[in-house]
Amino acid sequence: MSTLHTVNKSPFATQALLSCLNHCKDGDAVLMIEDGVYGGVSGTGMASMVEDKMKSVTLYVLSPDLSARGIDAARLIDGIQGTDYAGFVELVAKHDRTQNWL
């Protein structure tokens, strides 16, 4: 039993990503979408917390939202996987529930 969490806000604007990571269970997945993709960038004030959580949780970013914001995938924290809309659907189908952190 696992949950797909989505985060759509910048971690520098709201606590959505922080709260999400604090409530994830081992084996869950977190997909960063829309402004949430800023949470996946390396070298930010949030990066160490995200890196730490990646030991137990799989992290994804929605690549079209990354591209839209001019962020090269090479700037992502190592281990974060890019996915497209079809991959988003597969993630939803693969998990028992989806929880959106607004």
């Binding site: 949950t3 606590q15 709260s19 409530h23 529930r97 929880q99 607004l102």
Partner: protein, 134 residues
Amino acid sequence: MTTKKFLYVNRKAPYGTIYALESLEVVLIGAAFEQDVSVAFLDDGVFQLTKGQDTGEIGVKNFSPTFRALGDYDVTKLYVEAESLAERGLTKDDLQDIQYEDEDDDYAEKPSIIIVNRAEMADVMADQDVVLSF
């Protein structure tokens, strides 16, 4: 009809945005479908349950008394995160006293608010069939 476990997650303060009121409306609508409903309050969502709200001078409806009616719709599990309260300088005593009548126990009045820590809140979330966020 199969009963599913529904959790409504509240993370926003009550009057700055429409989320909190919309959540309450959806909880009441959902209650009509006789599902196993729980409601979670964490982060700024805990502000929704504070007592003494008076919106008379800001021109919007004070919907906080409605939380006390949820028990009549069999919504009797209101999970409130202890860490979120503490971070905001709140204690349980700052929240409304919300009770329900337990029809299986001679209609004894029982508290609806369940204070849980962050790990317990994560367990509540992971135990659901459907999670709706506001």
